[in-house]
């Protein structure tokens, strides 16, 4: 049975192409990438999508929980403060959940603390595993600043982490457990992830080129996105359906024919109760790795054919890992609200093994429904259907 569509009543974004949704919108509109050299000192070349400028400090009562991730979270909440106020007026605090996702959590802080430990023999005085590293730290800061007293947890399924909470929010509202949720995710740049993707031979030294014939890997990005989902309300867009699946194939490589990706998209359409032909745009996972792009596009082609515009926004922001799913869902909302589909950057010439319509120019026109894909280590897949208000 299709899920009940739930209103998305607010959203915020912060990443390498903008500190808020308006700046992100402008960069996407103009086709402006945020990729640049890594601000983290590395023994190799790496292009990344770093959040620019200084993040404001946390309020003094939360200083002990201060990390780059919690400061990004506070920044995102600041952007949706008016919408949050409205949400708190509509729902009891204990009925508002905080459902987020991350892959790195406070790992950047732990990296630095451990480096200090190796050189000095002790951890920094202000380091605390439970206040800076674990997921509870981000959850605590968001709950405190948002005034949300309902259930709170962090999904961590690598690159699908921040899309998972959209599925959870739908289920918990539908089963009557909550009335509203702050969903989304945050990830920050870490030396370990940059080293790690290099060890997998999956990262590019230059700006990534999703779907291009000579693509040679991904760039890591950072930032976050929050969306407000409510049982009822004045929608900017609708969460219409979510499909989840597992590849059951390999811990770090996608199924070669995109079997898990296909299952996720089919289940999302079924959940939304809509036909493939009703989808106007696909925001692909589109990492720019050799394996992902071909298998994902094979799955897209099998369901949607060769006409629907397919875009990867990772050419703008880099792969935001645990924050990618929510960020790309928010970009799907932008497409619906603004009436255009951003260009997929640097895809020319498209890989001859890819037969879908990789949209290399911005497409202006009404966008009623978008599918946003996220796939992850462990063969974890999720597709989200976002629709225009009816």
């Amino acid at each position: 049975m299709p899920m009940t569509p739930y209103p998305i009543t607010g959203f915020a974004m912060c990443n390498s192409i903008g500190a808020n949704r308006d700046e992100v919108r402008q960069s996407l509109f103009e086709g402006r990438s945020g990729l640049g050299p890594s601000p983290i000192d590395l023994p190799f070349e790496a292009m990344v999508g770093a959040v620019r400028g200084e993040l404001s400090p946390l309020p003094s009562s939360l200083t002990m929980w201060s990390t780059r991730a919690t400061r990004i979270a506070a920044h995102l909440l600041g952007e949706i403060a008016p919408e949050m106020e409205r949400l708190r007026e509509r729902w009891r605090p204990d009925r508002i959940a905080v459902l987020l996702g991350t892959s790195t959590g406070g790992a950047d802080t732990t990296e630095n603390a451990y480096k200090h430990y190796l050189s000095e023999g002790s951890l920094p005085e202000d380091y605390d595993l439970f206040r800076q590293h674990t997921f509870g730290a981000i959850l605590h800061v968001v709950r405190e600043l948002a005034g949300a007293k309902g259930p709170a947890w962090m999904a961590s399924t690598a690159c699908t982490s921040s899309a998972k909470p959209l599925a959870t929010a739908g289920r918990l509202i539908s089963s009557g457990m909550i009335d509203a949720a702050i969903v989304g995710g945050i990830d920050t740049l870490c030396a370990m992830t940059l080293h790690g993707f290099r060890s997998l031979d999956a990262s590019s030294k230059t700006a990534c080129r999703p779907f291009a014939a000579d693509r040679d890997g991904l760039n890591i990005g950072e930032g976050g996105a929050f969306l407000l989902i409510e049982r009822s309300g004045d929608p900017i867009a609708l969460l219409e359906g979510v499909g989840e699946s597992s590849d059951a194939y390999h811990i770090s490589a996608p199924h070669p024919e995109g079997l898990g990706a296909r299952l996720a998209m089919e289940r999302a359409l079924e959940d939304a109760g809509c036909a493939a032909a009703s989808v106007d745009h696909i925001n692909a996972h589109g990492t720019g790795t050799r394996l992902n792009d071909v298998s994902e596009c094979a799955a897209i082609e099998a369901i949607f054919g060769r006409e629907v515009p397919v875009v990867s926004t990772k050419g703008y922001t880099g792969h935001m890992l645990g924050a990618a799913g929510a960020t790309e869902a928010a970009m799907a909302i932008l497409s619906i609200v603004e009436g255009w589909i951003p260009a997929s950057l640097r895809a020319d010439p498209v890989d001859e093994k890819i037969f879908v319509n990789v949209s290399q120019e911005r497409v202006d026109g009404e966008v009623r429904r978008v599918v946003s894909n996220s796939f992850a280590f462990g063969g974890n897949n999720i597709s989200v259907v976002i629709g225009a208000p009816r």
């Binding site: 999904a155 961590s156 030396a191 699946s245 059951a248």
Partner: protein
């Protein structure tokens, strides 16, 4: 709003005990000091962390008791610190000789390492999630599982576990020892009347395990600091036939409890 889900299986891995039954009986078993992870093919098992293997044992026991279809059952894996030991190993590699990290170790450093490993091992293409919420991890993992049952009618295995935190990252006396626990849930209408039910997940005082034969008070206290202990407390209560409001943490979380009862109680 009222709801009810059925419990159709449980499992646990506590080092030195033969599964949940061995733990409940309080009979130490030197043959079970490490997890066996027999549900996972040998090649994968060799690459798995001690946490992932312990998760696999608890998961396999709950799966076996429930008789759920291994290839389609949904799963939720909760852990507060996840693969922190693997992460520290990577940091040592990264700053030790600045050489390449182990790609396999990196790929299995993610919080969903056990989730991915088990979906591959059981050829499962269904829904699987990994999550954490510090000391609320058992309550929140349970809620994620309950949501899947109520909203989608799924059969779900919820598994929580934490390995001992890396010694270098925590102060003396605040660590804990490894344990994992798992519970199999399904719609109440799909389960026999003899199976216990869960309802009312709430922030309220509840009972938890306070003594345990076969283990010293110090060991019990150390294990009690494990952020995932709440799920072990719950499955022990289920196995012992206890009913009532059961605590899902031991005071370090937000105080979530769940009501455990029989049909029509």
């Amino acid at each position: 709003m009222t709801w009810e889900v059925a419990v159709v299986g449980c499992g646990a891995f506590v080092p030195g005990f033969a599964g949940l039954s061995g733990w409940v009986r309080g009979e130490p078993s030197p043959d079970h000091l490490t997890a066996r992870a027999e549900i996972v093919p040998k090649r994968q098992r060799r690459r798995a962390s001690s946490l992932s293997k312990a998760v696999a044992d608890a998961y396999a026991d709950a799966l076996g008791e429930s008789k759920f279809d291994a290839a389609s059952v949904a799963s939720v894996f909760g852990s507060a610190i996840g693969e922190a030991t693997t992460m520290v190993g990577l940091l040592d590699q990264m700053w030790g000789d600045a050489a390449m990290l182990s790609p396999m170790r990196f790929a299995t450093s993610v919080h969903n390492a056990a989730s991915g490993m088990l979906s591959i091992a059981t050829d499962n293409r269904g829904i699987t999630t990994a999550m954490g919420a510090d000391y609320d991890t058992p309550a929140m993992a349970l809620l994620e599982g309950i949501g899947l049952v109520l909203a989608r009618g799924e059969s779900v295995i919820v598994c929580c576990g934490d390995e001992a935190p890396p010694e270098d990252l925590v102060a003396d006396g605040v660590g804990w020892s490894l344990m994992t626990a798992a519970i199999a849930l399904c719609p109440s209408s799909d389960a026999p009347a003899s199976c216990p039910r869960l309802s009312e997940l709430m922030i309220a005082p509840g009972e938890h395990l306070s003594s345990q034969p076969g283990i010293s008070e110090n060991q019990l206290e150390e294990m009690g600091r494990n952020p995932s202990i709440g799920l072990l407390d719950l499955v022990v209560a289920i196995r012992e036939g206890t009913r009532g409001v059961r605590a899902l943490d031991r005071g370090a979380g937000r105080g979530y409890s769940v009501r455990l009862h029989g049909v029509a109680e």
